[in-house]
């Protein structure tokens, strides 16, 4: 469970002051399939970064499970991300010199998982994202959609509590978008994996079970479909 309370974020470089988030309160339960939408500059990325422990709120708390991540040191936070949060970014998620299989295995190596466990899980995940025949390809030998599917498999590999995805389909064509959404949806249904993703794409929004609309750094609406 993710619990965001009274979170504000103000960027102030001395000259310009931007209030990116102005008092966000939201709870996301395990198993949800949530889209965060809103116009450009509304604060979607900022919110996801704060939930993911990549950025710190100016005020307020983010509690994930039992942990108030605002209280963690930099290194503790990195470790927390490794073991609790899966990330899918807009693009260039993967390590260019590693194959699909090695990319998926990567976080499990950092977690010191045994070879047997790594092999089993990598095979299973690449199959789940439909890339069992691409395991030895490097990122630059795969399409954008395939790369994002590898990124989803990698995010799942570390057995996170939930997956955060900031505009994961922004660089994909509609077929790849639909395919990626299918995979995420199925993982949500079958494995009960929690997904929180931001998007501009109406077809992606249509697939979400919950849509949180952000505008001007505030939650405008929060609808379960």
């Amino acid at each position: 469970m993710i619990k965001v309370t009274h979170v504000t974020k103000t960027y102030d470089d001395g000259k310009v002051r931007v209030e990116a988030l102005r008092g966000i309160n939201v709870e996301i339960k395990n198993g949800e399939f949530t889209a965060i939408v809103g116009p450009s500059g509304s604060g979607k990325t900022t919110l996801l970064n704060i939930i993911g422990g990549l950025d710190t709120p100016t005020e307020g708390n983010v509690i994930i499970g039992e942990t108030n991540i605002a209280l963690l040191s930099e290194n503790q936070l990195i470790d927390f991300r490794l073991n609790h949060i899966g990330f899918v970014f807009q693009s260039y998620n993967l390590i260019p010199v590693l194959t699909a299989k090695e990319n998926v295995e990567f976080l499990m190596l950092l977690q010191n998982k045994s070879e047997a466990e790594r092999d089993e899980r990598t095979t299973k995940l690449l199959k789940a994202v439909g890339l069992e025949d691409q395991i030895n390809k490097k990122p630059n030998e795969m399409s954008g959609g395939q790369q994002q599917r590898v990124a989803v498999a990698r995010a799942l590999a570390s057995k996170p509590d939930f997956i955060l995805a900031d505009e994961p389909t922004a660089n994909l064509d509609s077929a790849s978008t639909a395919n990626l959404l299918d995979i995420m949806y199925r993982l949500n249904q079958e494995e009960n994996m929690t997904f929180v993703f931001s998007t501009h794409d109406q077809r992606v929004i249509d697939r979400a079970k919950r849509v949180i609309t952000v505008e001007d750094g505030k939650i405008l609406s929060d609808i379960y479909t």
Binding site: N49, G52, L54, D55, N75, Q76, I78, D79, F80, R81, L82, N83, I85, F87, F89, Y92, N93, I95, P96, V97, L98, F106, L107, L109, L110, N112, E115, R154, A155, S158
Partner: protein, 418 residues
């Protein structure tokens, strides 16, 4: 939590993976990696070859002067080395007890004086060296240095003349030379001696002014029977420093001075010091260039990879591990370059050790003017190669400080902004 303290029993697996990442990164921009490795190879070859040549030249010079002429240690009457008059002489009996020292195998006595040498209307000041022709033949192989005529084989009369002096005075075998000088305690010294051979002492300076005769003849010429100016100590091993101290402790230093080759050749030492400093300056420039080019590589690498480093840290890779991957890349290149550089340098250095470089033309003249032999074998001292390999490795570590600081400060969301 840092790299090693988490489940240390399994950290080997991630390390293999970090190594794999670094290794594959090297091949991402092949051209840059090749340039980086080549510049290291070049630097190693250049530095090692240059230093081997320099140290080889010094070693050769010292070997020639010390082993074939000067000896490591000499005993004189106190004050002889600064004021080289025959009055500063002593009796060999005064020091025969030094033969009891375990590192001294023999004592070789000499009379070193100066004279004006004349042939027809041609005269030159020369250094007249009287020595035990039989003993020095055995000890120093002086007979092998005779290039024309013959050594004192069955005779003790006559003189050997340096080949430099031969050329200056246009001398020929069998010519007689008249010497004029002041002998012991103000006596007149003069005599005429036939040339029985010409000798190459391997040092142009010596060749130009040296005349050698038997010790007894020199004592007679200078009217100093049973007196010598110099005793060369023949050492069993090269440990001259300790031996010198022990000899000093045994002799009466009010009467006698005990000098080592360093003290007798201060100009040579200075010359070597100046030459070494010149070499260091060249190396300093070389290493500065290498440092900047490596720094350029590290800078580019760090900038190029910072998006990726941002992703790695974002998904949960500890910064220390990211740092290891980043610096391992240049360290692996450095190791490759150093090993290849040494592999190339070794046969070159070895070749010029076996077939010394023979300077010619103007270079030869300049070098010989300073008393160097124009034949330079390279030094095979492994510490030369090791020290330069070490310096380059250190430079690589130093320029990687940039990467370390950069990654320590890296904020993933900033690094991942495009």
């Amino acid at each position: 939590m840092s790299f090693w303290d988490k489940q240390p029993y399994l950290t080997f697996v991630p390390f293999v993976m970090l190594f794999k990442l670094a290794w594959r990164n090297i091949f991402r921009n092949k051209r840059r990696s090749i340039i980086t490795v080549s510049s290291i190879i070049f630097a190693v070859i250049f530095a090692v070859f240059m230093r081997s040549l320099q140290y080889g030249a010094y070693g050769n010079m010292l070997k020639n002067i010390v082993s074939s002429y000067l000896g490591y240690i000499q005993v004189h009457k106190q004050g002889f080395w600064t004021e080289k008059t025959l009055d500063n002489s002593f009796s060999p009996e005064d020091i025969t007890y030094l033969l009891d020292h375990e590192n001294i195998s023999y004592l070789s006595y000499r009379v070193e004086g100066f004279a004006l040498a004349s042939k027809d209307d041609n005269s030159k000041p020369v250094a007249l060296l009287g020595l035990d022709v039989q003993q020095e033949k055995n000890r120093l192989g002086l007979d092998k240095k005779v290039v024309q005529g013959e050594y004192f084989t069955n005779r003790k009369t006559g003189i050997l003349v340096g080949i430099g002096l031969r050329d200056i005075m246009s001398l020929r075998l069998g010519d007689s030379i008249i010497f004029l000088s002041q002998g012991y305690q103000g006596s007149m010294a003069s005599g005429s001696y036939p040339i029985i051979g010409f000798i190459d002492l391997k040092t142009p300076e010596l060749n130009k002014r040296t005349v050698i005769m038997d010790l007894a003849q020199a004592q007679e010429l200078f009217a100093m029977p049973n007196m010598v100016t110099t005793a060369v100590l023949g050492l069993k091993n090269d440990n001259w420093e300790e031996t010198q101290q022990e000899v000093i402790a045994r002799v009466d230093t009010n009467q006698l001075e005990v000098l080592n080759w360093n003290e007798m050749l201060p100009e040579l030492q200075q010359l070597i010091a100046v030459d070494k400093a010149g070499g260091l300056f060249v190396l300093f420039i070389l290493y500065s260039i290498i440092t900047f080019s490596l720094f350029g590589t590290v800078l580019m690498l760090t900038e190029e990879r910072s998006f990726e480093y941002g992703v790695l840290i974002a998904v949960g890779m500890a910064k220390n591990k990211v740092i290891i991957v980043a610096i391992l890349e240049t360290i692996l290149m450095a190791i490759t370059g150093i090993i290849a550089g040494l592999a190339f340098a070794f046969p070159v250095v070895l070749y010029f050790n076996i077939y010394p470089i023979n300077l010619s033309g103007q270079m030869q003249e300049v070098v010989e003017k300073y008393g160097f032999e124009a034949l330079i074998p390279t030094s095979l001292d492994p510490s030369i190669a090791l020290s330069h390999a070490g310096i380059i490795f250190f430079i690589v570590l130093a320029v990687n400080m940039y990467t370390i600081v950069k990654i320590k400060r890296l904020e993933p969301i900033k690094a991942m902004r495009r």
